[in-house]
């Protein structure tokens, strides 16, 4: 919901000056008005409404420029003379002209034909401002002339017709009590203006914004730039991830297709799901290195951790050791050399050690022990192979 309101503020001494001017003139008077126009948008949120917006337009009249006589800046057809206007407003900024006024005695509070035409033409000449027209009509209320009355109204063009606007007269100061004044005082004194102008640059920038606000604004801009850069990076990385995921999906699809093909080709050779797969290269290497230890080629252990010889691999896999496993041959040859040299030195020691071990084992071993295992133990004494 939107609400529009316009108010004209006129200080008491400006009104008094207008009245004084007319009292001392024996005819109607007219002139221009100088001031400032302030627009404010207030958003009011209540429990019942969250979108109540008030557009407040306040026109402060600070001064009036008197014309020496009526009809001074327009002709009989009410066409404005721009040169005369510039001459009248020579001491003021043209943007500060916010309207004009007329005072006529003993007439009604209604705009005349000429006033409407002049106002229309002034609006065309000064389009940057919403101009107002103030009409003051003093009159005698008694036949003896003892009591006089002054009526005043502000008129503003609202698009289709002229409408009257409330005029608020300030006496010696602002009548409304507020903690924060939203509007500047009407017609500030010259000395005040000079003091403010002298120290203004410390607090305000060239565009009349507070300096801190400008700094915060700059920082905000920098943060926004950084965020923008980070967003761009994230976007790039996300796109890369997306591309990689697409590649992975393609590869997976290719692999699954290949597997299906392979499965279709090898339907008779598939083993039981639970049968473990044999590492044929390892089996061939173990056979080459430890030909007398078939238990090393088993894939199944008992609960106690001993190899089960019934499932040892005894098949020839047809692996060409010199070409496929050349390091195994080198190692085997090195072992043989060390063995022959060791045999000469420790033949006696090994015989005595071997006899005591046998005796201990006979006492400790169970009935289930296989003679193959005894043989393996002996073999283990002969080699440096790890003991299971």
């Amino acid at each position: 919901m939107e609400e529009y309101s316009t108010t004209v503020r006129l200080s008491g001494f400006v009104l008094g000056s207008l009245m004084f001017q007319h009292l001392n003139t024996d005819s109607d008077v007219e002139g221009l008005l100088v001031g400032e126009s302030v627009r404010e948008e207030k958003s009011k949120i209540t429990d019942s409404q969250t979108d109540h917006i008030q557009f407040l337009h306040t026109i402060n009249i600070q001064k009036h420029i008197t014309c020496r006589r009526i009809h001074s800046f327009y002709n009989n057809a009410c066409e404005i003379d721009e040169e005369k206007i510039r001459e009248i407003t020579s001491n003021f900024n043209e943007e500060n002209v916010i309207g004009w006024y007329r005072q006529r005695r003993n007439t009604t509070q209604q705009m005349t034909l000429k006033e409407q035409l002049v106002h229309q033409n002034l609006r065309r000449l000064l389009p940057h401002q919403e101009l107002i027209f103030i009409l003051l009509t003093p009159s005698d209320t008694t036949s003896s002339g003892s009591t006089h009355r002054l009526e005043y109204t502000a008129f503003i063009w609202n698009g289709s017709q002229y409408s009257s606007v409330l005029i608020s007269i300030g006496n010696l100061g602002m009548l409304d009590q507020q903690d924060y004044w939203r509007f500047s005082t009407t017609c500030p004194s010259l000395s005040r203006c000079q003091a403010v102008k002298k120290h203004k640059t410390k607090f305000f920038s060239t565009e009349d914004d507070l300096r801190e606000v400008e700094k915060v604004s700059n920082m905000n801009d920098a943060l926004l730039d950084e965020m923008k850069t980070a967003c761009e990076k994230v976007e790039k990385s996300e796109r890369l991830v997306e591309k990689l995921q697409a590649d992975i999906t393609e590869l997976k699809e290719a692999i699954s297709k290949q597997k299906k093909k392979q499965q279709q080709c090898n339907t008779t050779e598939t083993s039981t799901p639970n049968e473990p797969k044999e590492n044929v290269l390892l089996c061939a290497a173990l056979k080459a290195l430890f030909p007398n230890s078939p238990s090393l080629r088993t894939q199944t252990l008992t609960v106690q951790g001993f190899p089960v010889l019934e499932v040892c691999c005894s098949s020839e896999h047809g692996i060409d050791i010199p070409s496929r496993l050349p390091l195994v041959l080198e190692y085997e040859q090195g072992l043989r050399k060390r063995k022959t040299s060791r045999d000469c030195r420790s033949q006696e020691k090994s015989q005595v050690a071997g006899t005591s071990l046998r005796r201990k084992r006979k006492r400790n071993t169970t009935d289930t022990q296989d003679p193959v295992e005894e043989e393996e133990v002996d073999n283990l004494q002969d080699s440096n192979s790890p003991v299971f």
Binding site: L23, S27, D28, A77, R105, T107, L113, L117, G145
Partner: protein, 337 residues
């Protein structure tokens, strides 16, 4: 409202402006209803109360228009009498004429006594255009206006006043004032000659009020200048027919016009017939005529005798007809001697 006589008004006006107002109050007949002059009221001054009089330079001008009276404020400045006046158009706040259509405003000549009167006439023309524009709110009334405008007998002598649209009911009213093209020049002068009555132009105005935009409530009224009304036999002599339901002005107005014309012709013919009638009596009983109405030919008295019986014969007729009433008064021969 203090209505002032022209002399009083002129005496209070600022001397520099007096010639302008003199022309308005003495010769100020504008519009169709020229029997009513322009009136001036509420004379005020724009000078301070310390200024010695006469210094009035602003007043209210009453202008008859379409059966209404417009009250326009005219504002001069006594200290600047060469400047053109300003106007406030009363309740018609939306009326804003173009200055280019007001040559007497643009080229205001304070030395020309008729300048203000001419300016008022130009403003009235613009006002008439403004009222015609307002008829566009009702297509029915606009049709009535357009159809009358096409007829040269009525289109040039028409005033329209469009009332305010009622914002509650949406009703829109208007009044048409038409000058009927009836020739009153042959009406016997003795019927029109009456210094007590308005000696102005003889005119017949037909006012038709539309109380609603759909023309379901239409009230016509015929206004005659006082002399014509007297000539036709008074206010009750002529009754116009009621506006027919569903009818339109282009049919009704000629009907009223014809009725009025017939009445006027009847009066004229009656006069001529009476004159001939009296002339015949005079030629036949020339020596016995005692007296007769030589202006209106409404009365004739004859003194006749038959076998020593003398009697007076009074023949009379009303001004509007040829009907003759005869009265015989018996008298004795010796009384005559």
């Amino acid at each position: 409202m203090n209505s002032l006589s022209p002399e009083v008004a002129l005496s209070r006006i600022s001397p520099e402006l007096r010639p302008l107002l003199c022309s308005v109050v003495r010769n100020g007949r504008v519009g169709l209803d020229s029997t009513n002059c322009l009136r001036i009221t509420d004379l005020k001054t724009g000078c301070t109360s310390l200024t010695p009089g006469p210094c009035c330079d602003r007043f209210k001008l009453h202008i008859p228009y379409a059966g209404e009276t417009l009250k326009w404020d005219i504002i001069f400045n006594a200290r600047d009498p060469e400047l053109p006046p300003d106007f406030i158009f009363g309740e018609d706040a939306e009326f804003l004429p173009e200055p280019s259509e007001l040559p007497h405003l643009v080229a205001w000549d304070a030395g020309d006594p008729d300048c203000l009167l001419q300016l008022v006439k130009e403003l009235l023309q613009q006002y008439h255009q403004y009222q015609c524009q307002r008829l566009r709110d009702s297509s029915r009334l606009l049709f009535e206006y357009d159809s009358l405008l096409e007829d040269p007998n009525y289109g040039r002598s028409m005033e329209i006043y469009a009332g305010r649209k009622n914002s509650w009911t949406g009703e829109f009213s208007a009044r048409f004032l038409l000058k009927l093209p009836v020739d009153f020049s042959n009406i016997p002068i003795y019927l029109l000659k009456d210094t007590a009555l308005d000696p102005g132009e003889d005119v017949a105005l037909l006012s038709v009020s539309f109380e609603d935009a759909e023309a379901t409530q239409v009230f016509p009224k015929l206004f005659l200048s006082p002399s014509i009304e007297h000539a036709l036999g008074g206010p009750s002599a002529l009754h116009i027919p009621a506006f027919p339901s569903g009818g339109c002005l282009i049919d009704y107005v000629p009907q009223v016009c014809q009725l009025l014309t017939n009445k006027v012709q009847y009066v004229i013919q009656g006069y001529h017939k009476r004159r001939e009638y009296i002339a015949a009596f005079l030629s036949h009983f020339g020596m016995g005529v005692v007296e007769y109405d030589a202006v209106g030919f409404t009365k004739l008295t004859l003194l006749l005798m038959w076998k020593d019986f003398c009697f007076l014969v009074h023949v009379s007729s009303c001004a509007g007809c040829c009907f003759c009433a005869v009265m015989i008064t018996k008298t004795h021969r010796h009384a005559l001697n």
